[in-house]
Symmetry: C2
Subunit: 323 residues, 2 copies
């Protein structure tokens, strides 16, 4: 009999659902837009409809389902599974896990998306070599997941891993969270978009603008295109972004002394050729020698599906947790 | 039969040795200066002489000794116990644990001082309520120890907890570690001494100078005296130091979501009346609501002996570790 896992990656703009076997082979995926306004009831409807359709397409019998796991944007309280003050979903307080279990009529693992991602990276990538592992996603925002001594580290109430809201430039630009100089405000997709907007308003960034489709706003993708054409403004801005990322990651390496820091997220994977090497160089130069020993700083090989892999990992690692 | 622990807190300027029972009652203490130049052989001699004298004074029989634990300044590799590039001891690479065991002729637990301190705080203070606990020492330097899910967290090679070398002001003042804008460069005893030195050279800080004994350099103690007399310059500088500490601690609360952040170290305990409340206020205003829930930010009640308490805790918790 097949043993299958249903995984759902709920994001602010899209929902990615998939069915995988316990070796991490994804049999079928489905991607839909998150309902406009992300009304919790509608979001739950979409998650359940997607899952049902996948089960139908893959002709899954009920007894083949080993588990269901759903990833949500943070903050997500643990163990209750309440989404709290989520900027991505614009939910103030939604008792997501309880409602999902009620609707599904069975047990569901719910984790913050960055926690799922680090579980995926650990279980399907680094498990044998990395008991201490950080995953950092650099996308519209910056977030993180932490594995300490082979276990997901959630902290007291589920809030651990908010590495994007580490202030690295006191008094710096205002972040979405309200503080100033957070890593996310300096080195994320939204930070780049804001910086490019300022440049364009000052008549700069012409090469980057030339890479931008009509009616679009330039962002990390267009910045990368211009940099690859040798545009000096683009190269300079990218070097600043790489330095901020390096500062943030070096801080975390000094704090956690992980075996590996794995980077993912749309922006990081899209600009990997431009960002990874300068980030690695900065980190290697700026952490204690003990913390640098054996250290890996790499991009994930799980790509955009990392959270789905994490859902499978969460189900397979279920027995290891004291939940 | 009594069960006793010998603990030694090796610092850059002093060595504190003590004998305690398993309830954490310190029976006898001895404090001596660290040998000038901190030659490793001489330091080992002093540690052994101190321990021997304490055992003699307390009339300890060999079978009463439950264990010996020694704390060293970091970085200290784990599990080897090699002190590496220690700025406080000026040791480049000393195989301290092995040599100590050879000389003592028995098993010795060796940990970084900040790790010992967090073990002490956990075991003798917060164990029942705080599985996730950060200890931060603010003294000449800034360091930290981390308890994750009830266990000391050392990271891959023993280097975890270097929270003083988290950059919080990119491009800021140069730190002893070579980076710029580390928390330690902005909010430590040495940071205050440097700032006061600059002020005095510019003809400022007269009230602080008036609090300084002839021939001495003003530092945190004199700054506190002036602030308590209402000196505006002193109050302003302390508010800046409190804000930097708040930024660093808020970063760590967003990253770890601990149940408690416990503060210690000579500077923090000496300026507790001036620093603690503004730090608490800053942190409460600047962390995610989920991470703020149930959060304690307090000073240790174990005072200057926290590392000795940690030595006792390390011996008593020995069975819980997979060493």
């Amino acid at each position: 009999m097949r043993e299958l896992v249903v995984g759902v990656d709920l994001g602010g703009t899209k929902i990615l659902a998939g069915i995988a076997d316990t070796n991490g082979n994804i049999l079928e995926k489905k991607r839909v837009f998150t309902p406009v306004g992300a009304d919790p009831d509608q979001v739950l409807d979409v998650i359940i409809n997607c899952s049902t359709e996948l089960l139908r397409v893959c002709r899954v019998r009920e007894q083949e389902i080993k588990g269901i796991a759903v990833a949500t944007p943070g903050p997500l309280s643990f163990p209750e599974g309440v989404v709290r003050n989520s900027p991505n979903l614009n939910w103030e307080r939604v008792n997501f896990k309880e409602e999902l279990i009620r609707r599904m009529g069975q047990s569901v693992i719910v984790e913050k998306d960055t926690n799922m991602a680090v579980l995926g990276e650990y279980y399907f990538g680094r498990q044998s070599e990395c008991g201490d592992l950080l995953y950092i996603t650099v996308s519209t925002g910056v977030g993180g997941g932490v594995i300490c001594a082979g276990k997901l580290y959630r902290g007291h109430g589920g809030g651990a891993g908010e590495v994007g809201h580490m202030v690295v430039e006191a008094g710096g630009v205002v972040c979405n969270c309200g503080r100033r100089g957070c890593l996310e405000a300096l080195a994320s997709g939204s930070a780049i978009a804001r910086r490019l907007d300022e440049m364009v308003k000052q008549g700069q960034g012409q090469c980057i603008l030339a890479c931008t489709a009509a009616g679009e706003q330039p962002g990390p993708r267009e910045l990368g295109m211009a940099a690859r054409q040798g545009d000096k403004e683009a190269i300079l801005l990218l070097s600043q972004v790489a330095e901020y990322l390096g500062i943030g990651i070096a801080n975390l390496v000094n704090i956690f002394n992980p075996r590996a820091v794995i980077l993912g997220g749309g922006m990081m994977l899209g600009l990997r050729d431009l960002l990874l090497e300068p980030v690695q160089t900065y980190v290697n130069k700026n952490v204690f020698s003990l913390n640098r020993q054996d250290l890996l700083v790499e991009c994930t090989s799980l790509g955009d599906d990392i959270v789905l892999y994490g859902c499978v990992a969460a189900i397979l690692m279920r027995g290891n947790e004291n939940e």
